[in-house]
Amino acid sequence: MSEIMVVAEHRRGELTPATFEVIAAAVELKQANDMTVTVVVLAQDPSDFGGQVSVAGVDKVVNATVSVSEFQNDIYETVIDAMIDTRKPSVVLLSHSIDAWGYAPALAVRRQCGFTTDVFELRYDGDNLVATRAAYSEKMHVELDFPGKDTVLITLRGNIFKPIEETSTPLVTSFEVPTIEARTEHIGFIEPDSTGDVDITQAESMLSIGRGVAEEDNVEQFAELADAMGFTLGCSRPIADSGWLPKSRQVGQSGKTVSNCNVYLAFGISGSVQHMAGMKHVPNIIAVNTDAEASIFTIARYGVVADMFDIAEELKNHFV
């Protein structure tokens, strides 16, 4: 039976939530195609995580003891490469995470295995693995296959596959790690500077601004409107990068996910994949944008194609 290998990912002593999504995707693929699922854990003490990755559907856990506590790209690349040599999995699944961006492509070229990234649907068509991902800023979808490849390495998009709650008791083995020369060295983590600012992940109602705000001087009126409405002010990446609002207000992949939000009023946000990753789950998204084709209208519940300044001005009258 062919194997699906999942690489567990952890940071600062905790498995990432995405790891459980990737395991869920592997179990789904296994069940449809009579395969096995092996989760590999690279850590200074893999037993810290062994129990947690023992999710229902996982057949085996392979522990590899490595010299570093945090992610290091040469170590991940070399150990996974050696494991593929030994285990010959048909599919290797990683999260489409920053850490995976940092080694998956190098691993793929080293092995010349099948490879693609940011996949949100996986299936077999006969013997061919078919992966679906987006193209042209999500306007299109593409189906890819990997002819002639015995192993295919895939990174999976987040928030697509639902983690499995049930547990299991997989067979646990360990893997002897080859000697590795690490060419990068982790010095330390730097926490986002959010001293004294609100925690937008707790906000239930948000008013968020994007590029459409155009100038720093225009930010204030939206801050006032948010205040009058009792909403928390957030923003998309360009606003934080410009320093118009603190980084702690940024919604999206590299900012925060607004997990408790119920109403999200987006002014002048076109909706990049990265921004939508942090807010598309919100039940009541109201998007205001001059561009009727903006991506945000495909995930918003309500859309207003209009000048954001006109709408903001009128909206003030309703919240005094």
């Binding site: 690349e77 961006w101 010095i187 410009s242 084709e293 859309g303 309703h318």
Partner: protein, 266 residues
């Protein structure tokens, strides 16, 4: 120190676009191009290094793409750098990011570069793969999603910050030579001056084919790729319920929706 900066033109599709006959891509007539946003930042980083270190540093923007991709290279040259390189021929059609990386790695070797600054990802297809694949092909050290960078020419190690999830950053050192992929926000890209734009037109732009770089046909295009496109299609997409009317009417309706959703909370 020679720094190569791979840049690309990203495509946006028109609404109501048509597919190519083989169904594997959008008909080219329906695509508009501009320089990838991430590459504005990687090039700016290179230009700043050049400004700080003068003759110790050479910066060269390179691209893999047809003649129209020269717009992106000229855009870079308008801000700095003295020459650019473009690689293209028909065999490069249908290259995935890995096949493109193969071309870039050969360019790095040909130019004897010491550092590659690539964009972290591209806004059209978003593989986030090309830069790190170049490093893999060269056997170089690498770091992805760099948000802060301090380089002195001739240094054996570079200290930098990587941007991780949820606003967290990591400080690491990386051995040289290296490939670094640059994140948005690392700097503030400048606008080109009119004089710069004019000068860029006269700067040399070398055009090469894959065979000029010693690559054979099987190493590029579909056969040099690690994936193959079966088909491309327009997905069913959600569509927001549009609120019509004057600004005043639209705002009233928004207020109503908000009051309903928040249970009158203000």
């Amino acid at each position: 120190m020679k720094i190569l900066v791979p840049v690309k033109q990203v495509a946006t599709v028109d609404e109501d676009c048509e597919m190519r006959e083989d169904g594997k891509d959008v008909d080219l007539d329906y695509l508009d191009y501009e320089l990838n946003e991430w590459d504005e930042y990687s090039w700016e980083e290179a230009v700043r290094l050049k400004e700080t270190h003068g003759n110790e540093v050479e910066i060269v923007p390179v691209t893999v793409g047809p003649e129209s991709a020269e717009d992106g290279l000229r855009r870079c040259l308008a801000k700095g750098g003295e020459r650019a390189i473009r690689v293209w021929d028909d065999a490069l059609e249908a290259s995935d990011p890995i096949a493109v990386a193969r071309v870039l790695a050969k360019l790095v070797q040909r130019e004897n570069a010491d550092l590659v600054l690539a964009g972290t990802l591209s806004s059209d297809h978003g593989f986030a793969a090309t830069g790190v694949a170049v490093a893999g092909l060269l056997g170089w050290a690498h770091a992805a999603v760099v948000s802060q960078l301090n380089i002195s020419p001739g240094t054996a190690r570079i200290t930098l910050r990587r941007e991780l999830e949820e606003g967290l950053e990591e400080e690491i050192t990386v051995r040289c030579p290296a490939v670094l992929t640059i994140q948005l926000g690392i700097n503030e890209p400048r606008y080109a001056s009119l004089r710069g734009i004019k000068q860029a037109k006269a700067k040399p732009l070398e055009v090469l084919s894959h065979s000029d770089l010693g690559l054979d046909d099987t190493e590029v295009g579909e056969s040099g790729s690690l994936s193959r496109v079966r088909r491309m299609f327009a997905p069913e997409r959600g569509q927001a319920e549009l609120i019509e009317g004057t600004a005043a009417e639209q705002a009233s309706r928004i207020a109503e929706i908000i009051k309903e959703a928040t249970g009158g909370l203000q």
